[in-house]
Amino acid sequence: MSLDADEVKKIAYLARLKIDEADIPGYVSNLSNILDLVEQMNAVDTTGVLPMSHPLDAVQRLREDKITETNQRERFQAIAPATEDGLYLVPQVIE
């Protein structure tokens, strides 16, 4: 499977990654090679095989509905790029 530059840009956009125009050809070739590798999977017929999303054959444990956390805003916001009045600030969100 080979990707073209537009596809790579589309994927980069979906993943919110800015890729310099000059680097696009490199990604095109690397990603295409990786997909070629990945497509070796097609050599094996998997009809009827159940997907395995987890190595453990276990089930979800349930947590008691208890409040165990306390306010640590100051601590957490000390490492934030931009805050004011306890809010995290980001460039204007337009709806």
């Binding site: 993943a15 990654l17 094996v44 444990r61 980001v90």
Partner: protein
């Protein structure tokens, strides 16, 4: 010379600490000095926490004095910089987290603290654990102490190099596709990746959640057993951490190996394996035969697909796991974003390195509409088949052995432009993660002065058996005691 502490295993240092032959402060200072004087050549540490280390050492000495010490109390080790450490930078080898002072401790870190273990610092690693050579770190490549022209393996390359050079008696690592075993092999140390779910992942920065597992990297199987005793166990904050009993991993170390059935997958001894490495492995297997083990040929027919499967599963999971690095709440934010989209794309574009971006993009693609079935679903189905191969094999054998990596450490820069060649260096380790099984790498000899690791894979939760099998070998060989000449 009694002050050559770096030649000692943890088991030996523990005995010395308890006998009062050395204090934790002395030991800690000794290793801090060693890091200071020698790590310039290796770049194995990102952060050295001298002050905290000495304070912890003092507290440990107090515990020893008061008879409140456990076997690891006062022993200094290093943590891979993937584990969150309260008040200490936790970078994960990335520019993205270069400014991230974690506000909490990972469960593994907490457990080590409770055991009285002293943290010397945080070790270098491939960025977000994505790499097999430690060349993708934002903090620069780590060098292999056996030959500083070569890589230490990855992603836990800093931990492996630090232990190999005896800058730390042991270190923690994480293993998603071989990241403990492969660098352990390339640096000539002993490392174990336990069964998935054995050690809490809470506070361990996620790469691929269904594959990631922490483990110890040390000089010997015995040391690994001691460390695993402290690391393993249930954590209510990790839904995938199992609540079954943790045995004393040192208890079975001395069991004789007579009658042990060792499976040799024919797929691990075929094309792509360096003949010299194969010879080292064959010699190790002969040693096992002498110890009474039986060698049985087996097949893992789907293991050849483990690399392709892995390069769907791991990127898919990582593409979502790394989405939280968005420049909003912590970590890197680009300068002067013009709008929200600019903030996202530049913060992430500038904060992540090329390999991380590649994997995020592969994962994004594999999950995107129209491709999910062909890539993600297919990989999950094959994961089942790969896992079933192991199940079948373990009906016939107790452990599976083979080389950890197809070759010894390669030259720095040799594969960094060729992701595929790099990925194939994990060809023998990845299937174990896909199945969630425990695996080890044990030093078994040298090729051209570079270490070769023997990989031992066990059935689910058979860590005790793996450690026993490795320990018996180490009682009869000395490979694990070898120290690189320059760091002797």
């Amino acid at each position: 010379m009694s002050s050559r502490y770096h030649e000692k295993t943890i088991a030996e240092l523990s005995a010395m600490l308890h006998a009062g032959e050395v204090s934790s402060v002395e030991l800690t200072q000794y290793f801090l000095d060693r890091i200071k004087s020698r790590d310039g050549e290796l770049n194995s540490f990102i952060t050295v926490t001298e002050e905290q280390a000495l304070a912890a050492a003092k507290a440990a000495d107090e515990r020893i004095k008061n008879g409140e010490a456990g076997p690891l109390t006062g022993v200094p080790i290093a943590h891979k910089d993937i584990f969150c450490t309260d008040g200490v930078r936790t970078s994960c080898g990335s520019k993205m987290l270069d400014n991230f002072i974690s506000p909490y401790d990972a469960t593994v870190v907490t457990k080590m603290k409770q055991a009285g273990v002293v943290m010397l610092g945080k070790t270098n690693m491939d960025e977000f654990a994505m790499g097999s050579s430690n060349e993708t770190s934002f903090y620069g490549a780590v060098k292999n102490p056996w030959n500083t022209q070569t890589v230490p393996g990855g992603s836990s390359g800093g931990s492996a190099a630090a232990v190999a050079a005896r800058l730390a008696p042991a270190a923690t690592g994480t293993d998603t596709g071989g990241s403990i075993r492969q660098p352990a092999s390339m640096c000539g140390i002993t490392g174990i990746k336990p069964t998935y779910g054995r050690i809490s992942r809470f506070g361990m920065i996620a790469f691929a959640s269904s594959l990631d597992q922490a483990g110890p990297m040390a000089q010997s199987a015995e040391d690994c057993a001691m460390l695993l005793n402290a690391m393993a166990g249930f954590d209510e904050r990790d839904s995938t951490c199992l609540d079954n009993e943790v045995p004393d991993y040192t208890a079975e170390l001395e069991k004789p190996l007579a009658g042990l059935r060792i499976g040799l997958p024919k797929e691990y001894f075929g094309e792509g394996l360096s003949p010299a490495v194969e010879q080292v492995i064959r010699d190790a297997l002969d040693e096992y035969k002498k110890l009474g083990a039986e060698l049985i040929d087996i097949e893992l027919p789907n293991s050849g697909l483990s690399v392709p499967v892995y390069y769907v599963v791991a990127p898919a999971e990582c593409s979502a796991n790394l989405s939280r690095f968005d420049g909003v709440r912590y970590g890197y934010r680009c300068a002067d974003p013009v709008d929200l989209m600019d903030m996202y794309t530049r913060s992430r574009g500038e904060g992540f390195g090329a390999e991380v971006k590649r994997r995020i993009m592969v994962g994004t693609y594999a999950l995107s509409s129209g491709y999910y079935d062909a890539y993600y679903l297919k990989s999950q189905q094959l994961r089942h088949k790969i896992s079933d191969d192991f199940k079948e094999a373990f009906e016939k054998v107790d452990v599976i052995m083979g080389p950890t990596a197809p070759d010894v450490a390669f030259k720095i820069g040799e594969k960094s432009d060729d992701p595929i060649a790099m990925y194939l260096s994990d060809i023998y380790t990845i299937a174990v993660n896909l199945a969630g099984l425990p695996g080890m790498s044990v030093p078994a000899g040298f090729v051209n002065g570079l270490p070769v690791g023997l990989q031992i894979t066990g059935n689910y939760f058979k860590e005790s058996q793996l450690l026993n099998v490795a320990h018996q070998y180490q009682k009869n060989t000395n490979w694990h005691r070898a120290i690189p000449e320059d760091f002797a």
